[in-house]
Structure formats: C-alpha cells, structure tokens
Amino acid sequence: MSRILPPTTALTEPYWEGCKAGELKLQRCTACGKHQFYPRTLCSHCSAATLEWISACGAGTVASFTVVRRGISDAYPAPYIVALVDLAEGPRMMSNIVDAEPEQVFVGATVAVDFSAWSEDISLPVFRLTDNGVIS
C-alpha cells in the first residue's frame, strides 16, 4: 500500500512543481497584497483574479497538532504528527511535523518547511521544529 497522492490540477501545477524544486509556492493577490492557501482561481480575500505565485519563506508556527496513534493505512506507520501550520505570510496549511518526538511539539512551536518525496513525481511540504520550537 502506498501513501495517498494528491490529484494535481492545472491550477495547482506551480505549487507541486515548487515542492519538487524545494520551494513552497503561495498565491499572492496583486490587487490586495494578501496571500492565500490553498490555490484558487480568485483571491479569497477580495475576489480579484490577479494572482501571482511567490516563494514563501518557509517559516511558520504550529496552530494545532495531533499525534495519530492509529494510522490511516500501513503506508502511514504510527505514531505520526498531523499539524496545522500558520505560515509567516498568513495562510494556514495542514502538514506533518517530521523528525520530532510527540512530546516536543506544542501549539505555538516554531517550524520550518522541508520537503519529502511521496512518489517519484510528488513531493510534499512537511515541517521541522526550529530551535526546539521556541522563538529565540
């Protein structure tokens, strides 16, 4: 059994290409200047269609997390950490916190993006704790 692969679309292609190249791509609205995630055909803040792709800095904080003790399938060996990460640019995304013990993770912990290959073609953004999660 393999891990779940995202069904990519033409719209989200730049995001997934970015992941493969080690960059977290976000949409930014040139009308209102705000960032959004997930990618859309229009700005979720002001409804303008003038969106550009930018590279996020990769820094974030943990908005919430859980340690999954019963995995979704054999391809997801438990325990693993599912988290909601607030990116420095504003948007929130779901991800995994990797290479951390469950007890090291807390709401508000600082994290940085990394990329993990889910298949030959698809890499996913995942996050690692920075400085043990505490802002220095």
């Binding site: 779940i4 995304m93 779901m94 709401v107």
Partner: protein
C-alpha cells in the same frame, strides 16, 4: 433578520428507531424502511397519507437516487422526494428544509427516514475509504489525517487557548454513558469513569478511544406535518419553534477559528426564531461524534461562556440530575452512531422527552429541547428548538 416564519408552523407527529448496534444481515435500505413503517405506525397513518419523503444515502449501500429507491421499495408516490448528504448535519438541515416545504405547500405529510450499516455493512476497504476520503484530496488527505485526528486538532487548540484538560473532555463521555445506562436501546450501557476514559488507548492525542463515538448499524424516522393537522394525530405534537443554520468551511485547515464554530450563528438564529434563550432549555441534544465537539457546542450555543466548556462539563451539569441534561439517550458516544443518520436518534429522543414518554431517563416536566448537529469537521451546523407548546 431572523426568519420567524417557521415558528410553530410544523410539528413532529411520529417517531421511531430500529434496534441499533450490530445488525448483521440487514441492509441499510431494510433498516430505513423498517424505521419508516414504525414511524408511520407511531403517527397512526397509512403510507398513502405520506406525500413527502426525505432520506440520506447510506455509505454501506450507496444508491444513485436514494429517496426514490426507498419510495419505490415502500410503494409510496410522494410529490416531494429528496435525499440529502451533509454529514452529521444532514438530519437537522433537511428538517429545516422540510419544514419550509410544508409551510409553502410542497407537501402535507413528510416522512424523514435514515439508516446505515457502518458496523456490519462496510468492507475493510470501504471503511478505509470513508476515513481517507474525509479531508481535502490535494492538501489534507496525503498527510494521513484520520477522522479522530481532525477533531483532535480542535481539542488541542482548545486546550492551548483555554487550559481545557483531557479529564474535562472525558467527563462528557462519562455523562453520555450515565444516560445510556438508563436507555435499554443503547449500544453501550456499562457505566464508565473519567479514569476509564483516560486509561483507554490513545487514538489521536488528546482523544482516547472512549472520547470517540461508536460505529453502529441502525435506522430512525420521523413524520412531520403542519401544526394545524398535528392535533389530529394520536400523540402530543412536538412543535418546531426555532431553526437556524451556520456554515463556515468544509476543511478544518480552512476554518477561520478552531475553537469557535458556526454553532454560534445557527444557535443565535434558532433562538431568535423561537424567541427563547439557552437558559430556557430543559435539555439539549448536542452532536457528539467526539467529546470536544460537545464542549465547543456548549460554549457556542450559549450554555456557558467561551472557554468555560471544560469547567461546565466537569461540574456534572450534563449528567442525569444535572442542570443541563445532554444527550439523554446516550448520544453518538454511547447510544449509537450509524454515520450520517446519527442525529436522527437525538431527534426521536427529543420527541419522546417532550411527549414525556422517555421512561427512566425522562427529564421532569420537559417543555423545551434544543437539538444541534454538525457535519464535516465542525463545518455545517443546524440548531433546532422543539417544544410541547406552540
């Protein structure tokens, strides 16, 4: 503006559940039909009197045109016929719509019947698919979140923001079980303690096994008609006094607030329509797929202040004899949870409570009940207020 148009306009005149729990060899359609026939019998009507039918699809037996298939099975020929799917919110959002259908003359007598066989009817592959197909296909599912994990994210955020504890979540499961112990129909009736909940195995931190609802087979149905007609039925009518909805997101990663839900809006709209407030309720049936769901609903529906849900539950308020009886049938945590039809059982229980026929678990002199369901991951909320009097 609050819509007061539906206040007191319709009533529930029939209610019935099938047996619940593990019912191997029974298809969801058979359970749906059994519940429907029992609800019609409870209302004292013949199937020819039903001119509206509402169902929800069954995960264990999906059909392209579910309501039509059930109508065909029953050989009824409604002029209002619809199957709906809004997760756990399905039951009450469609009750809201069906009430409008009666008021606008689309139907006179509506049968709402729902059933599924989540316990016996799903193959392992189907069960896995149900789990993994919840969540955004591109931006959530690949990370392997489980359904308990989504609610754990809410619980963890609430703990961080308000200091809520695992023991306080556990108390909600303990209260549900105390009610179920008084309900012969409930799937799990053995009393449990907070320690039992905390000692049960961790599923997704901070949720233990006993913080999670059951997986069940079962069906449930009600009959609804206009308040005018309702007086001609054998049982005391239970009137719909308020209804309100709130919809904030589908995917939890898109929720603007993890610890405050659109129950705040659905509740405010229902209270406004009914002209009552949380303090007027004799009991509340709150959607309890996981214990933190109840805690957030208690706050957002105004039964306690924001952040005080943990302390409120810990006070014993939800238990038999408490200040706010919650989930008097045992809820999804201890009575049964057959998937989308789950909150039907909270509705039929409310009918029995307001008819004063709930036996050992009867809340004395119950006049007003709030019933609330949510679907998705705290996404779609519907609040209903039911009463003995118009």
């Amino acid at each position: 503006m609050a819509n007061q148009g539906l206040r007191g306009e319709v009533a529930i005149v029939g209610a019935a559940d099938t047996a619940v729990g593990k019912l191997p060899g029974r298809t969801p359609a058979e359970l749906c039909v059994e519940a429907a026939v029992a609800a019609m019998a409870d209302a004292g009507i013949d199937k020819s009197q039903v001119d509206g039918l509402v169902t929800c699809n069954a995960m264990a037996q999906p059909m392209l045109y579910h309501a039509e298939a059930i109508a065909e099975y029953l050989q009824i020929f409604p002029r209002y016929c619809i199957s709906v799917g809004a997760g756990g919110g399905t039951t009450f959002s469609i009750l809201h719509h069906a009430a409008s259908a009666i008021v606008t003359g689309m139907a006179d007598v509506i049968l709402i019947s729902m059933a599924d066989s989540m316990r016996s009817g799903l193959t392992r592959e189907q069960a896995m698919l149900v789990q993994s197909s919840t969540g955004h296909p591109q931006f959530e599912q690949p990370y392997g979140p489980t359904v308990p994990a989504y609610y754990a994210l809410i619980a963890q955020a609430h703990m961080a923001q308000y200091g809520t504890t695992e023991s306080q979540f556990a108390e909600i499961a303990v209260a549900a079980r105390a009610w179920a112990a008084r309900n012969p129909a409930a799937q799990m009736r053995e009393l449990i303690t907070v320690e039992d909940v905390l000692a049960s195995r961790m599923i997704a931190d901070p949720l233990h096994l006993l913080d999670c609802s059951l997986v069940s087979d079962g069906g449930s149905a009600i009959i609804m008609t206009s308040a005018e007609r309702a007086r001609d039925f054998p049982h005391d009518p239970v009137y719909l006094l308020g209804a309100g909805e709130g919809h904030s997101h589908e995917h939890i990663s898109q929720a603007h607030d993890l610890t405050t839900s659109a129950a705040r809006e659905s509740g405010a709209r229902a209270y406004a329509m009914a002209g009552v407030g949380p303090g007027d309720m004799d009991l509340a049936q709150l959607y309890d797929c996981f214990t933190p769901t109840v805690l957030v609903e208690l706050e957002d529906l105004g039964f306690c202040d924001k952040g005080e849900g943990g302390a409120f539950a810990e006070s014993g308020a939800l238990r038999p004899g408490g200040s706010l009886p919650v989930n008097t049938h045992g809820g999804l945590l201890s009575h049964c949870h057959p998937g989308n039809p789950g909150s039907m059982f909270a509705l039929t229980e409310s009918v029995w409570q307001l008819r004063h026929s709930a036996g050992e678990r009867q809340v004395a002199d119950a006049e007003l009940a709030l019933v609330h369901a949510q679907g998705g991951i705290m996404s779609s909320h519907t609040t209903l207020i039911l009463g003995r009097d118009r």
